[in-house]
Symmetry: C2
Amino acid sequence: MNPLIKKLERFTRLSDEDKRILQHAAASRLRNFEPRCDIISEGETPRDVNLILSGWACRYKQFEDGRRQIVAFFLPGDLCDLNVFLLREMDHSIGTLAPVTLAQISRDLLQRMLDANSRLTQALWWETLITAANHREWVVNVGQRTAIERVAHLLCELFHRLRAVGLVREGGYEMPITQSEMADALGISAVHVNRTLRELRIAELMTWKSGRVTILDLPALEEVGLFNPNYLHLDREGQQFDAPGT
Amino acid sequence: MNPLIKKLERFTRLSDEDKRILQHAAASRLRNFEPRCDIISEGETPRDVNLILSGWACRYKQFEDGRRQIVAFFLPGDLCDLNVFLLREMDHSIGTLAPVTLAQISRDLLQRMLDANSRLTQALWWETLITAANHREWVVNVGQRTAIERVAHLLCELFHRLRAVGLVREGGYEMPITQSEMADALGISAVHVNRTLRELRIAELMTWKSGRVTILDLPALEEVGLFNPNYLHLDREGQQFDAPGT
DNA sequence: CGGTTGATTGATGGTTGTCAATAAGCGTGG
DNA sequence: CCACGCTTATTGACAACCATCAATCAACCG
């Protein structure tokens, strides 16, 4: 099933017509990207909204001196860049981590969809609000949590998000990034990420081998990471926007 | 002039009818809040959108052990809580710093406005995107910048934002918060905020006396803070949404 | 004018960063 | 199948930045 529909249906019921439009949009213009390349760079003008179909990407900002902060991960089913509607130029970059397949939805097509359907507009606005909620939790993560709390929190977030799109199997998930990239997301050094993962491994909370994370004790890991899934808003909350008669 | 109109006009031209509606909305239900009290707390269900007319407020998240992270400052002209439309319950709190006067715009009224006017919908969506852009920069701030860079960056952000709403006078602005609150926003201790401010003072980049910050050398301060105002999107960028015939 | 809050400074310690070396993994090609 | 080279992971030693604790000072206010 179309992951975009799946995602939006988590908070609003769509009519058959809505779904038909979305189906059409997501089928248009598929593209593949290598790992570690930019989908769009800071300063460029966004032209399309990208829907990740498979693989991982991230938003990041980089200083001239090399320091880099990853501010969000994109997982399958995520919409990359609703900024396209509103921002003249990107204030950050979007790059791949693992190989990515995405659907490019043109600005014009999406604009027509929105003009014709205010429920879709609100659904996408909602998506933007969730993005902001995620950013807020990341500010808290790098601002207040210790290294081990940050790592645990990120592992929990990824678990919940991937489970919501059916990518958790046998209590674990594919983790196609390096410890160095994790470090850039957590605001700590790669060396310290490594030490911290060892701690979690010794505590028998998780393992990470050959690109696959296994969560051995989710409640304990959530406790270490001071994790509360409320900011993900994964439960259906938008009943007020349900299409009539569905 | 109505600060909400002023704000929205920074990115889209509004028709006279738009303005009349907004004028009406902002005039409704004024409320005053003491300093250091919650406007809405985590877990509550938001009922209104709040437009700050005067004073400072902030979004924050707090752990049970007392650690707190401020994730954004609200300045006059800011819309507090568009989450009201979409989130069943708040995943963070909004509290005042200085005494605040705000206009409560009811959910129903705003909903009617949006239903009748897709340009307004997009204008408010844009506001949400700017909020997210701000959050991203804050992730970078606490994730990558050193203490002195963080302090300098925050002072620059406040300068630019306050200037945009006409609250910068004689190269400075009112700063109605404590160093401890600044510490909560920057993810460093209050003691270290104090030391860092001293450094900036000795370098003759700024002063902060009796609730008023004066920026002595903005370019130098921006350089220290690795500050780039692009994420604020303060220049008019939404010409594509201009009302026809204005 | 006492009392409270916030600012300031010093001393000390801990978490984390940096540097460096080694080991492990992984793809490529002989 | 193994050798090779590259990237990534892992570990140790040391240093730095920042937190914490504590004391003093300044500002504000009823």
